[in-house]
Subunit: 189 residues, 2 copies
Amino acid sequence: MAAGNTHRPRSDRRRAEIVRAALEVIAERGYRGASLAAVAERVGLTQQGLLHHFPTKEALLVAVLEDRDQWDAAIPRRDWRLELLTSLVEYNAMRRGIVQTFSALLGEAVTEDHPAAPYFTRRYADVREDLAALLRAEFGDRLPSGLTPERAAPLLVAVLDGLQYQWLLDPDSVDMAAAFQDFLVLLGE
Amino acid sequence: MAAGNTHRPRSDRRRAEIVRAALEVIAERGYRGASLAAVAERVGLTQQGLLHHFPTKEALLVAVLEDRDQWDAAIPRRDWRLELLTSLVEYNAMRRGIVQTFSALLGEAVTEDHPAAPYFTRRYADVREDLAALLRAEFGDRLPSGLTPERAAPLLVAVLDGLQYQWLLDPDSVDMAAAFQDFLVLLGE
């Protein structure tokens, strides 16, 4: 729409617009309720026009998640601390729609031949590596329990994911941020 | 089929047969690949006949999961120990289809108004309570870290679930049983 205000090609700008609209639609209606038609309407495209940019609903969702990763990447890895993860959990507790989208798509992605599986497999390998580096910066080569950062990292990831499911199902019974603090106690913080 | 060999009503036996068939179909094709038609065919019913017992694919899946809970319930709660959980994780690592089914359905269940949500919400509340009792039997009212059993239980559940997703996505990189052992080290075993 705002042609000429950037050197990015027009199709890149259009893609970014579609991804933003998809995020809005998902936040309002959840993953299952979101339709390509609703996203197309929001950006003033026909459904056919949208399919030119994103051939499937899953492809559009993966783009939304990759866009989400861009925000996370805004904080350089060397500045990651356990406190930052605590803030992230608190922030997630305020954006149920996004957490829901992410959790639902992760659930789908573990089924056979799902188009989002390569994204999640790669992402989890990266996240485990980043969190191992974070734990090493915090604790050195051994945590107080004797675990190496590389062995504690998958547990940290598992707790972050697992708590989200329990919280989404039962937000009154599960305080995600408090439970994550408890896990940091186990880690030796 | 085998009429007269039990006092259970015929429709109960038929239901059990359908649930067993559904489990087989899911193990072979995954959750997304499983169709009501395939299940109906396996038990010699028309799809209409199957719908009489289970009105939706989700309802059939919930029945499969409730059936799975029956197996778990075969071990009385007072005999639960952390070693038993370790064995369960090892057992799960040998039945990818079931773990996949469970993980995919949990992912769907956290979306708005999903028919499996009440099942999972109730199940997680029960599991947290059972695991708190197990931790109390093992450690008393405080774990070595100072956490109460009630505060450690959601973390134990989160680790069990979260590791399954990482393992399903990347079985060569994530050793679910070894990682669970590491978590027991954090708990103070």
